[in-house]
């Protein structure tokens, strides 16, 4: 697929059904838009991979997958390609795996601009470089007009969990400290503004970023880190609820401790949204034993992805499975899991 010397044959500006039929038009699209950018090693559909870390006794393989259906496809701070790389890298990272390889499968609506595909692919290549993973295999399908919404991307990630490392929400104990790496809700608020329905003019950008290097830094500084979750769909509230239930602990957070931009807070107030449920794409919450909390916090703040890291609460023996927030006014309220959707098509 890497025959770069071949003259370009893709003359179309938009994708047609013939680009999905398995013939020469498909091969031209794959060669010139995808393979020339991703540069997979082989000529087969299948990637063949080796990594010394995988052969270490006690090492485990980690695997995760995510489909991305965000609308709009491009937004301030990223596009569906950035999201597809970061989202899957982050799912691996918060589980304690070092992300190594990604696959990328594209479902493309007939009529999609080939220039858009090239921009998205370029974003994916740049983001993969930044986060230290390789996109090693892929697929493209084309569906007729109206059978998909522009472009969907499914990325699957494979990484390696080093011997002896074990992170899991079930390992959180009462007394453990909860830390986030940055401000809440930027991605959700950005997508909402970018949809244009609300005539909102903001300078907001998605927080879309890879968290693999940050997680490695935290685990080096706080080796007994219990568990981490990236607070994507459903926001911080849903991530914390899942952790509280998995660990059978209560979780208490402090409203005043939650890092948030004034702009996002204002937007939530105007629109009646709760920032705890807004999606993030580069924000995680993790639990560490109390005596390692300062070390973890310092390690996060030393990196750009964690510059605004903050301790936001702790795990408790009381009210197992429940998340509560001490409000700015000194009261306490239950932070339930989101029931339906706050914003669909956010990632």
């Amino acid at each position: 697929m890497n025959d770069m010397a071949r003259p370009a044959r893709l003359r179309d500006t938009r994708v047609t059904l013939s680009h999905g039929g398995g013939g020469r038009a498909m091969r031209d699209l794959i060669d010139e838009v995808f393979a020339s950018a991703f540069r997979p090693d082989g000529m087969e559909d299948q990637a063949r991979l080796t990594n010394a870390a995988l052969a270490e006794p006690g090492a485990r393989l980690a695997m995760t997958t995510d489909s991305f259906v965000v609308t709009p496809l491009e937004f301030p701070g990223g596009d569906i390609g950035t999201l597809a790389v970061c989202g899957t890298v982050n799912d691996l990272a918060v589980g304690g795996a070092k992300p190594l390889w990604l696959s990328a499968a594209f479902i493309i609506e007939e009529g999609t601009e080939i220039a858009l595909l090239r921009r998205v692919v370029a974003s994916m290549v740049a983001e993969a470089e930044r986060t230290g993973v390789r996109i090693v295999t892929g697929d493209t399908k084309v569906v007729g007009r109206g059978a998909a919404d522009g472009l969907f991307i499914t990325t699957t990630g494979v990484g390696v969990i080093p011997p002896g490392r074990d992170l899991g929400a079930n390992l959180i104990r009462p007394g453990d400290v909860a830390i986030v790496n940055g401000v809440l809700g930027d991605h959700g608020a950005t997508i909402l503004a970018a949809r244009g329905d609300l005539a909102l003019s903001t300078d907001l950008q998605s927080d879309c970023q890879g968290l693999g290097h940050l997680m490695e830094a935290v685990i080096a500084a706080a080796p007994d880190t219990r568990a981490a979750r990236d607070a994507t769909r459903g926001g911080l509230a849903s991530a914390l609820n899942e952790m509280a239930q998995a660990a059978s602990v209560g979780i208490e957070i402090e409203e005043t401790a939650l890092p948030q931009r004034a702009e996002v807070a204002g937007m939530c107030e105007i629109l009646g949204l709760d920032p705890l449920y807004l999606a993030n794409e580069g924000t995680l919450v993790l639990f560490v034993p109390e005596d390692q909390a300062q070390a973890a916090l310092a390690a996060m703040r030393a990196r750009p992805e964690g510059a605004e890291a903050a301790i936001i609460g702790r795990a408790l023996g009381d009210h197992p499975g429940q998340v509560r927030m001490r409000t700015a006014f000194g009261g306490s309220r239950i932070v339930d899991m989101l029931v339906g959707e706050q914003l669909p098509r956010i990632c």
Copy 2:
């Protein structure tokens, strides 16, 4: 995700946008439709996997991905779920890998019947069992009415290539023999008939089947097997063209040697389709050295997936990169790669 003791909470009969929002409705859908059937080991998004074969010195990891967008979603001989498991298992198998693990990501259109999802998931579980792989992690996204066509599934497969095994189209040499495991075009013809546009009434069934066990049997019998391809989109013609180009050999096939059902041949004649370009979902073509051809053929015929296996041609030193067919009338014609599409949305 495996809390089977929890009472069922999913009361809806159709998927709504709230099932994709990251909250409790989504968790109920995932728990009751997906996790209860796939039974992943952990509670994290990420699967954690070990396999002794991966730690063997010289073993390589294989990874492949495919999105499935077939219409209709259910057809004689299978459904989109069967296809999603077989397709990815087969991509691994034809590269010489033993398939081990799959991820499955679902993009679901609002309004899709939950009963349909359950049937598709049941097909996937049954097919995974048959082919000896485990579905270890997944994702669901819901998009609004009209933003997808019912259901798309992306499966990614990970397998292991044993030490010393090396299959690749570039390894085919002049003189090598081409063998297929069964009849051509059943899947494409079945999907075409199932669309109902043509008022065709047939007893045809898709050939949709996993080929992992067959490939292992062939490699055991013919250890110098050069390369295999599953003849999916673009059919046998496209697979052979890709192999001829990768190996810089000519390929000659015999029209009279191609196994085909009379029903498919008749349908092609009526509709002006070429069976060489019809999609298959359980049919592969492989090349073996001439002195191992009978052993490979016997190994294939000993299995149900290879009962109709046949030698169809050979690689030549002449006309490198080109596929030619000796016709039933003694002539010879070039079998080119498909240019556009013969049938879209076939897999």
